[in-house]
């Protein structure tokens, strides 16, 4: 068994550095699937997204989701990194890496992680608009709840 790596941080991250760290010194991994979530500019109207989170619970909840993924698929490694604070269009927000011997488990686990992370991890996005005004809080989407229910 392995312990999933969960990090909540203000700083950016490097996909390649995380894959290298995950696979360093081992040759049992045959597949690494990565998902990177980026900040869109919403057709030029968005200056930044402000990500608020619940310190303590964010780490705990993502770790619970990661441990569930590890119990459902034969994984060899799992990484979840989520940023908070101000993120500008084009910048990275979230990273999920799932490693396994064969690709199917890694694909499914990464998909599962993102569906659950969106609906269960205590993060809230607020828009800062390009015209200098503070936008509203982003509303949760029903389609994200539907996506998470696929795994029940």
């Amino acid at each position: 068994m392995f312990s999933p790596l969960v990090r909540i941080q203000r700083e950016d991250f490097s996909l390649q550095d995380e894959i290298d760290a995950l696979s360093a010194g081992r040759a049992d991994i045959g597949a690494v699937v990565s998902f990177t979530g980026l900040c869109r500019d919403e057709a030029g109207t968005l200056a930044a997204l402000e990500l608020e989170h619940y310190p303590g619970m964010a780490e705990a909840e993502i770790a619970r989701v990661a441990n569930e993924a590890a119990s459902r698929w034969p994984l060899l490694g799992l990484v979840a990194i989520h940023r908070y604070g101000l993120v500008k269009p084009g910048e990275q927000i979230v990273l999920v890496l799932a490693a396994s011997a064969h690709r199917r488990a890694a694909f499914e686990a990464a998909d599962f992680m993102m569906d659950y992370l969106k609906t269960r991890a205590p993060f809230w996005k607020r828009e800062h608009r390009a015209d200098g005004t503070l936008g509203g809080w982003v509303e949760a989407k029903g389609e994200d709840d539907d996506a998470a229910r696929r795994w029940e």
């Binding site: 990500l51 608020e52 989170h53 619940y54 909840e61 269960r120 991890a121 205590p122 509303e139």
Partner: protein
Amino acid sequence: MNTVTATAAAGTRPVRIVYFAWVRERVGLPEETLDIPTDLTTIADLVRWLKARGEGYETAFADETVVRAALDHVHAKPQARLGAAREIAFFPPMTGG
């Protein structure tokens, strides 16, 4: 026996309540420690009690089906029992990822 202490212990207990995103803005506080009545059994009971505290709470919890809660960092439904939870959180549906 100290009478004052005995009275306080019988009726209330202190809990830390934290708020996030627009729930935080409407309540007007990121967190507070409140002495809540020990006869509040569920999260829904606590929400009703908070709504009686003022307009900010009333606005924040106007639609009780929307606001989510967590007990000691674990998601909990409105009918969940408060038990001995020390930190209770209220927040909108999550929009991370």
